[in-house]
């Protein structure tokens, strides 16, 4: 049948709109779920070693923009912004030292950030995020291992990461020495998420 490629018939228009709507609907359904972090029940902590003993601190203020769906890792994304001045190691003097120019230099670099947009499954409910962590003015690749458990309309995102502080510039001058305060720092987080 020799008809032109584009038909202006009503039935074609209807079919076109239906196809477009269906594609849009599928597209929305395919995008990873947008989650809202519950700040009062979420925790971001780090563990360092000083003179042979571990100590733990938290960042009390941070935001986590989480788009995640275990069945749609391709469109999942983490964007975490940390207010560095909110650090709390339960000792005022140590907190002040951590915020000082030789370590985090809060005056110059008030926030740190972690952005991840590549995810792989690593077992039941277990995943690895590949992302970039920025502390001070240094950005480096940092993988994060986490679990995701979705239940009763909320989800728990819990995970760990390991970094070396000197590579991020957290340790200027004398503080580059890692014999008293370790280079290795463990990061732990537990985020309670509700659907956005």
């Amino acid at each position: 049948m020799s008809t032109p490629t584009f038909s202006t018939s009503r039935s074609f228009t209807v079919r076109l709109i239906a196809a477009a709507s269906l594609t849009c609907a599928l597209g929305l359904a395919l995008a990873a779920t947008q989650w809202l972090m519950q700040p009062t029940q979420s925790k971001l902590s780090f563990i360092g070693v000083q003179a042979g003993a571990e100590f733990e601190g938290v960042f009390k203020k941070f935001t986590a923009d989480i788009k995640f769906d275990p069945k749609d890792l391709a469109t999942s994304r983490f964007d975490v912004k940390i207010d560095v001045a909110s650090v709390d190691t339960q000792d005022g003097e140590r907190d002040d030292t951590i915020k000082s120019a030789d370590l985090f230099d809060v005056k110059k670099f008030p926030s740190s950030r972690y952005v991840a947009d590549k995810f792989t499954a690593a077992g039941p409910n277990k995943f690895t995020a590949t992302g970039k962590l920025t502390i001070r003015d240094v950005t480096r690749d940092v993988p994060v291992e986490f679990t995701f458990e979705d239940k009763d309309g909320g989800a728990w995102l819990k995970g760990t990461a390991k970094i070396k502080r000197v590579a991020f510039g957290v340790g200027q001058g004398d503080w580059q020495d890692t014999s008293t305060v370790s280079d290795d720092v463990k990061i732990r987080f537990a985020l309670l998420l509700k659907k956005g």
Partner: protein
């Protein structure tokens, strides 16, 4: 002769005594040194102070157990009653102080969220929750207990020297790896 006799302290009691004396003197030196250091060096020196403090604590407990398992050399005959009371009181106080002082140091460190490590080999559990007011209390008490050790130890040493040079008895010799003077208490 490892055990005590009624005349003399045995080898182990002497070892406990003199090792703890040397460690305590070194503790005063470390505490003083740490005071004026910048943060990073201070952490290192205080960590050493804490490791030695916990060593003294452990030795003090073992030493007390050993004392309870041993005869105690008799007080010299003819020693005035007030000196006897002074001796018993100061010895008892020193035993208590060498245990309570490191204990308060341990609590002080816990209250500031600085866990105590034994020379980087293992870490002791924190005894109390981090709290500024608790920390200030334990800090002040730890300092006063240390001053008390110093004061009583000096008195104790002077008394021993008095026994040795003035009374010319065996009281000091009993705590040393030397022979006792015969025919004297």
């Amino acid at each position: 002769m490892l055990k005590n006799t009624t005349q003399k302290y045995g080898g182990l009691a002497q070892l406990f005594h003199w090792v703890i004396v040397i460690l305590i003197i070194y503790q005063f030196y470390l505490a003083n040194k740490a005071e004026d250091l910048p943060v990073l060096k201070k952490i290192g020196v205080l960590a050493q102070h804490k490791s030695i403090g916990m060593t003294i604590f452990a030795l003090a407990l073992l030493r007390l157990a050993w004392r309870l398992m041993n005869p105690v050399p008799a007080v010299p005959a003819g020693m005035p009653r007030w000196q006897r009371i002074g001796a018993h009181f100061s010895h008892g106080a020193l035993y208590a102080l060498i245990m309570v002082t490191p204990l308060f140091g341990w609590m002080m460190s816990s209250a500031r969220n600085y866990s105590v490590s034994w020379f980087g080999v293992f870490t002791f559990p924190n005894l109390v929750k981090p709290d500024k007011a608790s920390y200030e209390f334990f800090l002040t008490t730890h300092h006063w207990l240390a001053y008390a050790i110093f004061a009583i130890a000096v008195l104790h040493a002077l008394a021993a020297l008095k026994h040795h040079f003035v009374d010319r008895d065996n009281v000091l010799r009993r705590m040393l790896p030397v022979k006792l003077k015969p025919g004297r208490p």
